[in-house]
């Protein structure tokens, strides 16, 4: 059957199957927490790095802060 349909059309249209919400919920939460934490490191003024390593890390990623559009000096 597949050989017949593939000769008629380039690729058989397959209905995409959604991932159930129940299976997604913890991963959506995890992804959100991960992204917020990482963006906080780069994006906010000083951020946690100020507590950990003084202004050294802030200076280190400074060009990225400006070019990625985060407010800075």
């Amino acid at each position: 059957m597949s050989s017949i349909s593939s000769s008629a059309t380039p690729s058989p249209a397959v209905q995409p199957v959604a991932i159930p919400w129940r299976a997604l919920q913890p991963w959506l939460l995890f992804g959100a927490v991960l992204a917020i934490a990482l963006l906080y490191f780069v994006g906010t003024e000083q951020g946690v790095f100020h507590l950990i390593g003084g202004s050294g890390v802030h200076e280190f990623v400074h060009d990225g802060r400006h070019l990625l559009g985060f407010p800075c000096h």
Binding site: I19, G31, E59, F60, D63, L67, L68, F70, P71
Partner: protein, 241 residues
Amino acid sequence: MLSPRSLLIRGMLVGLAAGVLAFVFAYLVGEGPIDAAIAFEEAHSPPGEPGSVTRTVQSTVGLLTATLIYGVALGGIFSMVFAAAYGRLGRLGPRATAALVALAGFVTVAFVPWLKYPANPPATGSEDSIGRRTSLYFLLLVIALAALALAVYIGRARVGRLGLWNASILGAGAFVAVVVVAHVLLPTIEEIPEGFSPLVLWNFRLASLGTQVVVWTTLGLGLGALVERTLRREAVLTASA
């Protein structure tokens, strides 16, 4: 079937690639305006303490570190939004779904904030207002995300009665309306110092927007291609089994 875990891993891998490409673009296009801005800063302000990190380190390893963290973080959340959208956008396959989610992400997370509070090179913002500027920037970001959620909600609620095309236009219209109101109501920030080159400012802001285009294009095309390949392999395995 796709699992959220495999999608998260693929998203972060694609994000890593996006971070590398963003670094290449930002280094080639953005470092020139940054150097010009720092030269302006040094010529117009009393000499401060020398930075603990050299300019060479900042513009290479430092910039790469920032774009990599940014890319991986964004890739992770992007893949989770993709996981929620896939199979819920009519008959759109993985590549079209990823491209559409990336386009929505770019407009919402990068373009809308950039229009109101565009990226500024060093030496153009006041130290005193950084807290306020950061709050306003993230406030607009949250408003844009809420506007996107509203657009999706309206589109989904109306798709039965209006059809996909018109429901999409209605949702997009709601997004634009909320964003325009926010842009009008939120305060404008104008702190560019007297005598700062408008060309440097313009080039820097374009470089910043271009970096975002590189990031989101890589995420959208990269994840779509990876998922498409995975699903094809699975289909072949299932067919041959």
